[in-house]
């Protein structure tokens, strides 16, 4: 074995990646060659340093990462959040009592007409659609920041033409569009961006009378809903409410 080959093999030798025969040949060479032996010692020194420092060098995730990740996975799977450990210290009996009490409360409220009814079911669907869209490759069927490309894309795919506005000057660039299906309606999803946040604007035709702006929150996402010009609008995002409202107002103005 010559020095050139020996030097080339040193890293693999240190990592235990050489077959036995080659390793023995290398060791034989190191026994007779001072220059290579010195290089071997220097490389072993670095290995030793890195091995010794390993614990300090490994980047530890923040403690909440696992929790946040679980929650995110649950959302993307379309599942309701995992039951909180809240009940465990209470014991089974207390939990049963609580459930009975809530049921009774629910019946009471139902009799008083306090339930929002169909609206909250649609909100759930909108939220699920929004979260699914955040999966890689699911955000847009047509990718374009140009309203003149996105708007006609819906022709022939939907039997209505959604309003597609250019809000890039106001800091809400259009990212594209895709088709959705909400509450039994084929819907247009217009995707806008604000910094790194996604806004899904879902639109479908509605015969209901124009309604005021409603804000709801599902799994931490903010949803604005309103009716305007024979269309139902939902804007969903993890943006904070004030910014999302600013977006909504721009749409309301532009869609008149």
């Amino acid at each position: 074995m010559d020095c050139e080959r020996a030097l080339a093999l040193l890293p693999a030798y240190l990592d235990g990646e050489l077959d036995l025969v080659t390793a023995l040949e290398l060791e034989a060479h190191l026994g007779t060659c001072d220059a290579c032996a010195r290089e071997y010692a220097a490389q072993r020194d670095l290995q030793g340093l890195l091995a010794g420092q390993r614990a300090e060098l490994v980047a530890a995730p923040p403690p909440a990462l696992e929790q946040r990740l679980r929650a995110r996975l649950r959302q993307s799977a379309g599942l309701r959040p995992a039951p909180q450990p809240f009940f465990r210290p209470w014991g089974a009996a207390a939990a049963v009592l609580l459930v009975v009490a809530l049921f009774a409360l629910g019946v009471f409220l139902l009799s008083r007409g306090a339930y929002p009814g169909q609206e909250s079911v649609v909100a759930q669907e909108v939220e699920v659609a929004h979260v699914r869209s955040l999966l890689p490759g699911h955000l847009t069927d047509v990718v374009s920041s140009d309203q003149h490309t996105v708007k006609p894309w819906f022709d022939g795919k939907l039997d209505f033409s959604p309003p597609v506005l250019d809000l890039s000057a106001q800091g809400f660039p259009l990212a594209g569009g895709r088709l959705e299906y909400i509450d039994g309606h084929p819907a247009a999803a217009l995707v806008y961006l604000r910094n790194k946040h996604v806004i899904n604007l879902l639109v479908w035709p509605s015969t209901a009378s124009p309604g005021p702006l409603q804000l709801s929150s599902v799994n931490g996402y903010h949803l604005f809903q309103w009716r305007q010009g024979a269309m139902e609008f939902w804007a969903a995002s993890d943006l904070e409410t004030a910014e999302l409202r600013a977006f909504v107002e721009l749409i309301q103005q532009g869609a008149k």
């Binding site: 990646e17 995730p61 379309g78 599942l79 955040l134």
Partner: protein, 180 residues
């Protein structure tokens, strides 16, 4: 338990034990904790999407591959295509740092110094050091994760270590100008 719920549970059980490895790699590629977390989240969602097609086997290597690719995609978007300097893989004569016996790095370099030296490496070199030294992957596993041939793993890792050593020698000379 619904099927979706069962699938998710199975996925979590397989994946969460490797969360630290995933975060570690993402952290050293992206260079900051916030991006590292974002990358891990995105990679996990992607992994969940691909989970149905995962045949089993080396879960950690599979996950690290997804994390790595997610990171590099993000880096390209952040910095634009032109930033990745072609690595000079050729071993140039006379570039190897001197192996003088007095400079024992184990005695002179603490983890702050090693961290600095690692941060100074080009991303592709740093990635290999992390996969080999911190995650303990075999050359074959590294080849799979990084998407490069085995021979390239060996030569690139050798270069990465040379650069790392040269940087540490330089840094420790700054700390100990008159020797230890």
């Amino acid at each position: 338990m619904s099927k979706e719920s069962q699938d998710l549970q199975r996925f979590e059980n397989m994946v969460l034990p490797h969360l630290t490895s995933c975060y570690n790699l993402a952290h050293w590629i992206m260079g900051n904790p916030q991006d590292a977390e974002d990358m891990v989240q995105e990679a996990a969602l992607r992994a969940y999407q691909y989970f149905a097609g995962f045949q089993g086997g080396n879960t950690r290597a599979w996950l690290l591959t997804i994390v790595r690719n997610t990171c590099y995609t993000a880096l390209r978007q952040q910095r634009g295509q032109g930033v990745f300097v072609e690595l000079d893989e050729e071993l140039a004569e006379g570039e190897r740092p001197s192996s003088s016996p007095e400079l024992s790095l184990q005695q002179r370099a603490d983890h702050r110094m090693v961290r600095r030296a690692l941060e100074n490496l080009p991303t592709e070199y740093r990635e290999l050091i992390v996969l080999r030294e911190l995650e303990g992957l075999s050359y074959k596993e590294i080849a799979g994760v990084a998407g490069i041939p085995l021979g390239t793993v060996m030569s690139r890792l050798a270069r990465a270590r040379q650069q790392l050593r040269a940087c540490l020698v330089h840094l420790s000379a700054e700390e100990y100008p008159h020797g230890l």
